[in-house]
Symmetry: C2
Subunit: 161 residues, 2 copies
Amino acid sequence: MSHDLKLDLPAGLPFIDYEREFDYPVADVFRAHKDPELLKQWLGPRRLQMEVQNYEFRTGGSYHYLHTSPDGDPYSFSGIFHTVRENDCIIQTFEFGGYPDVVSLEFMTFKDLGEGRCRLVGHSVYPTLEARDGMAESGMESGMSEGYERLDELLESERVS
Amino acid sequence: MSHDLKLDLPAGLPFIDYEREFDYPVADVFRAHKDPELLKQWLGPRRLQMEVQNYEFRTGGSYHYLHTSPDGDPYSFSGIFHTVRENDCIIQTFEFGGYPDVVSLEFMTFKDLGEGRCRLVGHSVYPTLEARDGMAESGMESGMSEGYERLDELLESERVS
């Protein structure tokens, strides 16, 4: 089954907090964040094509990817991995090319729930309240929800195959 | 002359904002942030010895330095340069080894004031209000003030020499 994304925008604080459970082990969900060949099959809404231009998934590495809409509009994202700890946590910067220098910091923690299940806990920190609100109003929640549904489907297809 | 550090802790927001003017050109103040041989002569309070272990001052580069107290207590700091734009801005992550995973994001902008003067504008973003308050209570303000006084002295000595 697929679980709901729980998203919280705390009033007056430039944070976005979220949680999402998966009926798959931490190792599988973490690997889907680590391997760009998997990542591009699930990250973001279905209608966008994703191309990974650079993905050095390690502490100190950089990443750069591009989402392209059916109309051909490109959306570029880039950042640096401050911390990568296998099957445990990712701390990375995040910048949308449309808003240069509006950089956020994302904390993702992977928690083992036993019985082959896990929970992803996210905490994103924005440089201003306005930047947080702008991100929230950009369709982020539906894009993330759809992305995690795609991630469920990807891991299910791997389990079946 | 040496200017005062203006430091602001906005109520209820996990930010530290600061401004500091220098009677030196942007290029000089920026170079003192870029060159680790200069950096270690001014960053932080006078009583601490600074050793730069790694300093890749470029977009995507990493840094790691150590402050050591007269008693020999080590304080380790590390992070990644998300953006480095010469004589313009630095966006970097920052982590104190004593609080692992409590990573902040620092924005520094260098503004030319004309007549060989400039202003450094800083905006630091913490993952929680508690982390911001803890940083503010750690002696940060006096350490920064003293550091910028040392930076004035360093640039003055270079001008004289």
